[in-house]
């Protein structure tokens, strides 16, 4: 398979692992954050971290779209879904995210009309075939998913679909990275930059990381060799005293992103002054809402939404995991009270969540094998 097989070649993987081993300074500990949940999943699926020297540590960032949704937002969704006139639609992962009194899946079991969709376009189709019902799409995700929501809202408008609306919980990637870099909890040496978000925003928005914080960042693809090569490139920057944005994923990511996607997002969305992130609290200008011109398609204006704020359960340490402060197995309930079948926190729900990746690929132990 083109673009896949050549990036899974075990022989090339060993070559890169040898180069990484040669590039690290003995006695120095390196801590790199992979921002995107897709990278976290690949790292544990392919055992990428087992190919790294003991002094190269990967910490997992806040780039899993489901993981960052706060409980209160789930409760708001459930309140909307329980309205008799509403068909509530969302991505499959979102159905299992716990709110304060259960998940959307629980609400569905109790009779709410909640339907899983693969795309906002599916939700629009449901609206067109159910003209006597109100169809609400629960929009989540970073800039990777936001263009899809924006195009669907434009399509709903163009086709005159009046019974469709959107509960917009899209977030943007730069503000949480800045919040993490400002946090005294975390000392990082570099970043493996998000691949899919960058197909939309490009690599340029990450220039503040080297410019303001003096850390290298390499935007990377999702195959094991992509990630190893990105780590090799970060180490080369550090060894050569360089600090810049590099694009390992140039076969997919244009440095300037996708201008048409940025344009459609700018037309349909505007920044919220603040948005609450699971475990990270409120971050300024980090969430999107529908722009004034699309207010008639905003479910939060069309219906009464409680707007509840709910503290995470005491046992939940998703915030620390999302900030890279602790590893999933350091959470007291990891693999016991919290499992993918019965998640307490969001990081155990999606395959992109760090806790789910550790659990699904058997990373229960503190020590990892080191080549």
């Amino acid at each position: 398979m083109r673009y896949v097989d050549e990036f899974r070649d075990p022989e090339l993987g060993r070559v890169l692992a040898t180069e990484i081993l040669a590039a690290v300074e003995p006695g120095r500990h390196y801590k790199f954050m992979e921002v995107c949940g897709g990278h976290t999943h690949s790292i544990y699926k392919y055992g990428v971290d087992d190919l790294l020297p003991a002094n190269v540590e990967l910490v997992h960032g806040p780039g899993c779209p489901v993981c960052v949704i706060p409980m209160g937002r789930v409760d708001d969704g459930i309140a909307l879904a329980r309205r008799p006139e509403v068909i509530f639609t969302c991505f499959g992962d979102m159905m299992r995210v716990p709110g304060s009194e259960g998940s959307l899946l629980d609400a569905k079991a109790e009779g709410a009309d909640i339907r899983m969709v693969y795309s906002p376009l599916d939700a629009l189709r449901i609206a067109k075939s159910n003209p006597d019902r109100e169809v609400v799409f629960f929009a989540i995700g970073f800039e990777t998913t936001a263009p899809s929501t924006a195009l669907t809202l434009k399509r709903a408008r163009a086709e005159g679909v009046k019974n469709f609306s959107c509960m917009c919980s899209h977030v943007t990637i730069v503000p949480p990275l800045r919040a993490l870099l400002d946090s005294p909890d975390l000392r990082l040496d570099g970043f493996v930059g998000p691949g899919h978000v960058s197909t939309v925003v490009g690599a340029r928005p990450f220039e503040f990381i080297p410019a303001d914080y003096g850390k290298p960042i390499v935007v990377a693809g999702f195959e094991p060799l992509d990630i190893l090569q990105a780590i090799r490139m970060i180490l080369a920057q550090l060894a050569e005293g360089r600090c810049e944005v590099e694009n390992q994923y140039a076969r997919v990511v244009p440095y300037e992103g996708n201008p048409r996607a940025l344009e459609v997002m700018a037309e349909v969305f505007e920044l919220r002054p603040h948005f609450e992130w699971r475990g990270l609290g409120f971050i300024s200008q980090s969430g999107l809402k529908l722009a004034e011109a699309y207010a008639d398609l905003d479910a939060e204006l069309r219906f009464e939404v409680p707007g509840v704020r709910v503290a995470d359960p005491k046992a939940c340490q998703c915030g620390e995991v999302l900030k890279g402060v602790i590893k999933p197995w350091e959470c007291k309930v990891f693999g016991t009270a919290c499992t993918p079948e019965r998640p307490i926190g969001t990081c155990m729900v999606s395959s992109e969540g760090a806790c789910a990746a550790y659990y699904n690929f058997g990373r229960f132990a503190r020590e990892r094998e080191v080549v």
Binding site: Y3, P120, T144, L151, N258, V264
Partner: protein
Amino acid sequence: MQVESVDEARGLALCAAEDGARSTVEIALVEPVVPGDRVLVHAGVALTGLGA
């Protein structure tokens, strides 16, 4: 995914995944595409073209 057919008027394409599963994809962000082109699709939208 690989583009199989294009409905230019509606800005949609029928695309096939590697496992053969087909779905309708918005192509407004990558137009023009032609059958045989490969596109990176996320949440039902082609985000970038990957060439033929």
